[in-house]
Symmetry: C2
């Protein structure tokens, strides 16, 4: 966490941006949750500790946190932009349940390798990717089965 804060400060300095009380509080709130928070959820969290911090500042700071490489957007199929920790977290993809909305984080080195090769074959230089598999989780399948008994 101390490390992330340093990364954030360095990123700000590089861009000639200021290290403010608000920005640090918002970063802290973000680091304090392991959930995939939406901007609004994070605002609510920040507000509990620091009611004086405004909505716009949270939005603006989230962009900075992303810019510093500390967060990445995840798309759970709804239209809301959610963020997960990026720094110190290994890359992963998602299995997302169409019924209950829950998701699993997964990683398959073979797939990653093939993705790399697939891109290269097209003379394309990959930087990042998103792989989201939508379907039904075990629980929701069981519920479905039981419902039809």
């Amino acid at each position: 966490m101390q490390k992330e804060i340093e990364v954030f400060k360095d990123s700000l300095k590089k861009a000639n941006q200021k290290i403010t009380h608000q920005r640090l509080k918002i970063l802290q709130s973000f680091l304090n949750t392991e959930k995939h928070v939406s901007c609004d959820e994070l605002y609510q969290m920040v507000r509990r500790q620091n009611p004086e911090i405004g909505y716009a500042t949270v939005y603006r700071t989230l962009k900075l946190i992303q810019g510093a490489g500390l967060a990445r957007e995840v798309d759970l199929g709804d239209k809301i932009s959610r963020l997960e920790h990026e720094y110190g977290h290994k890359h992963h993809d998602h299995l997302i349940c169409l019924e209950c909305g829950k998701f699993l984080e997964v990683f398959d080195p073979e797939i990653e390798e093939l993705q790399e090769r697939l891109a290269k074959k097209q003379n394309f230089t990959p930087v990042r990717h998103k792989m989201d598999i939508f379907g039904y989780c075990q629980k929701c399948q069981e519920k479905e089965r039981d419902g039809h008994k």
Copy 2:
């Protein structure tokens, strides 16, 4: 194309929805382009032939077209929802250029196979997936190189 229209009509009937002039015109406009259209772009296309059709109707009909399995959303990294033909079109994934926004459609059966296996391993039943690889296309890489000479 006739086939798609039948699929659409069947889907409407099943849901107790009506087959209207507007819906058919909008579907036709959608089928007439191979581009990945945004809702707004499609509205503009529809409007050329049928200026009396409203914005909301296009939006509503696009949901129905998706519901009928004739279109799927593609995410090119901007926040706009775009649609591509689904019916009679093989599944594919995208390589999307971060510089120029152009994209390639790609398909790798090995990856598809591994995705399936990955999901199963988690007792997850996959229905569909999205795999988007972001990076730099050949042209943009060349431009970059030339710029630094």
